[in-house]
Symmetry: C3
Subunit: 270 residues, 3 copies
């Protein structure tokens, strides 16, 4: 994956307008739907066990997010995930706050055991805890050194037998053999709730149109980060309210050419 290809994949997402089935949380459902619509994808939220198998089967991708998980929704995620697996629909998982409580850690692991997941997207602490590694959690974020994060992505990918995207100031995407670094984005993203959840769904939208999960994740993160940079410039010093509004604008307006110019995608060093 490189900047030019990432831009081209953005255009493909807009052309295909993939149906993204999200089972997600009450905090970010609205923002996720609006972000996917702005980007050019077609979101659907449905989490009743009576319908998730049918909905997942029809989707271009299924995105599982445990942000406000309950016993009911974990059951739905597994039903939906198995249906997606059976019908060749790829699955993205976001283990929100795995490690913060035993229920989250256990549920994340259970989903990863019962469902074949193509990409797991999270911050360092979430990824480490989902992969069963001992990794200190500092609030909801991880302040680890850069080298550690690359290693974490690589090891978690091997352990979970999936592509892993550890996002932060720099994003590390690994398939267990190679690691790619994406260095787009802006720190104000951490001041808007659900920007991590939305990026998992955007990764899903790219995965719906690109079979290689590591390539899809890298392109999605580069496009997302580029849109955030454009929005941050346009709303400099205004605050997180204005940034969020402009970020939705930029997800809709960012062009293939801007991504080709601005995306920073490199091979990792491990």
């Amino acid at each position: 994956m490189n900047a030019q290809k990432a831009g081209a994949l953005l255009s493909k997402v807009r052309e295909v307008n993939p149906l993204v089935h999200n089972i997600t949380n009450i905090v970010v459902a609205n923002f996720t739907a609006n972000g996917l619509l702005a980007l050019g994808a077609s979101p659907v939220m449905a989490d009743a066990k009576e319908e998730v198998e049918e909905m997942a089967r029809m989707a271009g991708v299924l995105v599982l997010n445990i942000g406000t998980l309950t016993e009911r929704t974990v059951e739905s995620m597994i039903l939906a995930g198995k249906s997606a697996n059976k019908h060749g629909v790829p699955v993205v998982m976001d283990p929100v706050a795995a490690g913060a409580t035993e229920f989250r850690t256990r549920s994340a692991k259970q989903i990863l055991e019962e469902v074949k997941v193509a990409i797991v997207r999270g911050n360092a602490a979430e990824i480490a805890n989902a992969a069963g590694q001992k990794w200190a959690i500092k609030g909801v974020d991880s302040g680890e050194a850069e080298g550690d994060l690359e290693e974490l992505a690589l090891h978690a990918a091997r352990k979970l037998n999936t592509v892993v995207a550890v996002t932060g100031k720099t994003d590390y995407i690994s398939d267990g053999k190679q690691t790619v670094k994406v260095s787009n984005g802006h720190s104000i993203l951490t001041k808007v709730t659900g920007t991590g959840c939305l990026v998992s769904s955007v990764v899903g939208a790219f995965l719906a149109v690109e079979k290689n999960p590591a390539a899809a994740a890298a392109a999605a993160l580069a496009v997302y980060g580029t849109a955030a940079e454009l929005a941050a410039v346009k709303t400099a010093d205004q605050g997180p309210g204005s940034f969020q509004v402009e970020f939705l604008n930029q997800l809709s307006k960012v062009t293939e050419e801007q991504v080709a110019l601005q995306a920073v995608i490199e091979k990792g060093g491990l």
Copy 2:
């Protein structure tokens, strides 16, 4: 209904400030409440079976929305609907994505059988599926020809014995005898999640102050579309984030006079 009367009805909504009881989904609950507040209505969201009968009884209108339905909320919708029927509170229903899954289609039909609904508001595919007609679903939208939609509204109204509003580029409101066309709105509405759900609740707010359901629906759709047009002009080329913010502003600011000038309401030809 004509443009002048639609404007007058907007002023009546603001004067009465009707209590709109919504049983709705996790994606649009916030946007729906903010849209109703901006318009001048008084939203309340409550979906626990322990309280919906009591809440619906006190409301000016009850709006049922199956966007993220579960067994629990379908049960609550039926309890609330029966209470509303018993106490003379009118009911609006939005059969979100009926036809997309068997559970949605079945639940929409069950609610329509057990509750006397005054207005059903949906896109073409949702209305057709709720009315048991065979109508192809193309994603979440319907790309049918104009003539078909007018016929659909008429037939669905007869079949469901209620007023039906099929919304899209042009909106068709039918009581089973006559059909009214409303041609306001803007395509950017399709890039903001929950604009369909919100319009159902706005239809509800108008129904709370106007006994004729077809008149209430036509006026609501004209006012909503006019506010969208004003917001689209004001945020041209800015993107869906800015449009959404300005749309809330315009729902609050649009005047009786602007509606009288700008609303396009015509009799249908069938």
Copy 3:
């Protein structure tokens, strides 16, 4: 508490970045999280009975909000509250729409009986109904005379044996002995859904860094009202959509010095 101390406490919130565990409703979860992030606190939303005891124990404060309560979430609130009590984590409660239905009134009372709550924040009708007083509910707001509200705060604080904050045009904070009045804010707050819910969580963020509940509540209300005033001036005549965006900006930008200049905090007269 005075204006200068309120400003200093804002700086302390930003320095400590307290973890605020919210069990809240589907309407305001996103706005609450964004408001807390903007202010400088760290929100977490979790309501599964499997994890709330663990989450509450780790938090700086627990905020319970019955906005869209169900049997499931009331159970979770009580489990979380007891865990918070056991581990010395202070608890704020927002009895949203208590008095509107029997289920709400009963649930509010049950939570207040089983959990030791440090601060109850609500409008006049909510506070009165939670405290078992006969107080007419007029829609969702209360239009009572000023003297009455001060008396209500005082009596409710005595009855509930907690600090009570009755918010409205003027806010009254009472510990059952003394009452403090805060006169910041702007009427457009009533046109944005969840501004009452968010202020309860902001009160929580201040309580996480200030042991005196009445002082924490007064400072939080003064800071919140000051941010609202700044946002209202900046978006005058634009509408509630723009106000909401700018309010998030101002929660992030309002300084200790602005609060010291602008906060209006007085002793009550009873």
